[in-house]
């Protein structure tokens, strides 16, 4: 069983939901990212989503776009991202690490090379934002052969038939995008998300994580009532932007704790 599924099972036994924070590798610097990753775990993160910087992050809102730009300005790309992950793994072999990125950097270094680096950094899952299942069959097959979970997004507009098709290829968990929009957008409609997550749950045993619009502990609390995980990204990156190096870890910790307490 994958480390991701194991984490979900353990949390379930104590009636908790997973908190999955997202940060972009190299934002604000490679050294700080490693410190931030450890801090996230200490403060209550159950898994971590690590963004691979890309020059054209089409599905992301302005906050994560800026994180990408800061990381790129520190020369952090896909290879450096995996080095950061490897460095993190030296001290932490427990917390699942999920990479989130766009197809082009992966294709540029080659899928086989990417998988080799993922294995050597002990990566647990990958979300490739612009690889819908139709365009990524061979890739997903290779991920599975390497025991890396292929995590797919489901949107408010995804039809039932399509959800069923995606479920067949997905593993680890399903990532439900809680609103029509980009990451970090306005607040979400809880009732609507609840209905959709219920619908998806009736089709699969895979855990469901909810993200894209979760910005505070109140929303997180409500969403956690009917989902298995909360993904929180832009809110943490705003904290990175608003902090200096001396208070950054503390400020991030506060957010994580306040959310972990209520889910």
């Amino acid at each position: 069983m994958s480390r991701i599924r194991k984490t979900f099972d353990t949390l379930k036994m104590s009636n908790q939901k997973a908190l999955i924070p997202f940060v972009t590798a190299g934002d604000p610097s490679p050294e700080m990212t490693i410190k931030i990753l450890h801090q996230l775990v200490t403060s209550g993160a159950d898994m971590i989503e690590l963004g691979i910087p890309f020059s054209d992050p089409m599905a992301d809102g302005p906050v994560i776009q800026r994180a990408n730009e800061r990381a790129l300005s520190k020369n952090v790309g896909i290879r450096k991202t995996l080095e950061i992950a490897k460095e993190f793994r030296k001290q932490n072999q427990v917390t699942p690490l999920i990479l989130m990125g766009y197809a082009n950097p992966i294709e540029a270094i080659g899928i086989d090379e990417f998988l080799k680096l993922c294995k050597s950094s002990d990566i647990d899952g990958v979300i490739t934002v612009d690889y819908p299942p139709e365009e990524s069959k061979a890739y997903v097959e290779k991920l599975k052969q390497n025991d890396i979970d292929a995590i797919f997004l489901l949107a408010p507009t995804t039809e039932k038939k399509r959800i069923e098709r995606i479920i067949k290829q997905a593993s680890g968990f399903l990532y439900y995008v809680s609103l029509k929009g980009v990451t970090g957008a306005q607040n979400i409609d809880i009732e609507q998300v609840k209905n959709r997550v219920g619908e998806i749950k009736s089709l699969t045993d895979l855990p469901i994580g909810v993200g894209f619009g979760v910005r505070d502990s109140e929303t997180a609390k409500n969403v956690a009532k009917f989902s298995d995980a909360i993904v929180i990204g832009s809110r943490i990156i705003q904290e990175i932007e608003a902090s200096n190096e001396s208070n950054m870890l503390e400020n991030i910790s506060k957010i994580i704790k306040s959310i972990k307490q209520v889910i």
Partner: protein, 400 residues
Amino acid sequence: MQNYNFPDENGHFGPYGGTFVAETLIEALDELKVMYEQFKEDKDFLKEFHHDLKHFVGRPSPIYFAERLTKKIGGAQIYFKREDLNHTGAHKVNNTVGQALLAKKMGKPRVIAETGAGQHGVATATIAARLGLDCVVYMGSEDVKRQSPNVYRMKLLGAEVVPVESGSKTLKDALNEALRDWVTNVSNTFYIIGTVAGPHPYPMMVRDFNSVVGKESIVQMDELVGKQPDAVIACVGGGSNAMGIFYPYIPFENTRLIGVEAAGHGIETGKHAAPLTANSPVGVLHGNRTYMMQNDEGQIIETHSVSAGLDYPGVGPEHAWLKDTKRAEYVAINDEEALAAFHNLCRTEGIIPALETSHAIAYAEKFARDLSKDKIILVNLSGRGDKDINTVAGMAGIKI
């Protein structure tokens, strides 16, 4: 290439094209695919489309024999397909008329577009005004500065122009931002993409709407010259004017198809916008797989061309396929050569061409020189250069 039938049902041109978007856009693209398939065969839709092309755009555009230029070069006979005479001044309007009509049929009251030089933005704002649709145009903040007359034109036509501050602040970033808008407002919004790129069905749909250029040319060349050209030449940024004239000519095996990219400061300097000529690596951006200017870790790199309309790191996937299958050839012309052709055409033929188009003209001059006088070249004169006079004056150190 008698049985050329691309893309396949999933939008692939061989290994290129496809649908590389986040799940949040899949439903909108599926809807668009179904509606386009339905309306492209619909008699009433086509009647309206052709009515507007005739009465609003002013089609058919003429074919013109560039007699003085031909004499001056002293080789093959050079003909122009005069897309510069269209309403709004370029071929771009053919596509926006088609997509805006489709938006109207689909019941979408709001259209959005990306623009680089502003030509596609103006063409979109124009047809949006004509059809009573709300219109928002995304434009890189660098381009907003460089192309202020077109920004004002769009505003006059009732469009909202949103400057894009992210990334390199140019066309590719405007496209990213338009995609983000579309994801957010998908239920009431139609995204009018301006070139033969983007996720399926855009490369096919934009090509189809622009193919009126090639279809007319085939009829007109037959009437005017009594035979088809030995070569068709067009400039290629994303590649919409080139696909528009190439596509109907694909079965004409004796007609060479030549796409002219922007070599900027020179291919060897890396500061260009010619992914096909430079054999850039294949990658995935803006929803499709194609040749793409990028570094060795897949980050899209900044491009350079004197012409904002060619300043794009990728190229339409069908051009990638035509290159690989050798049905079309791709070459590049640098800034200096394009400017020389610009000035030459102004004085020799009384036509001020767009800087984009000047790349095609520059190559046509080179190409014609080595051919005998009985050979015939047709150049797609894709747009007029009124929009470029500030740029050209600025390069000569003149303030107007």
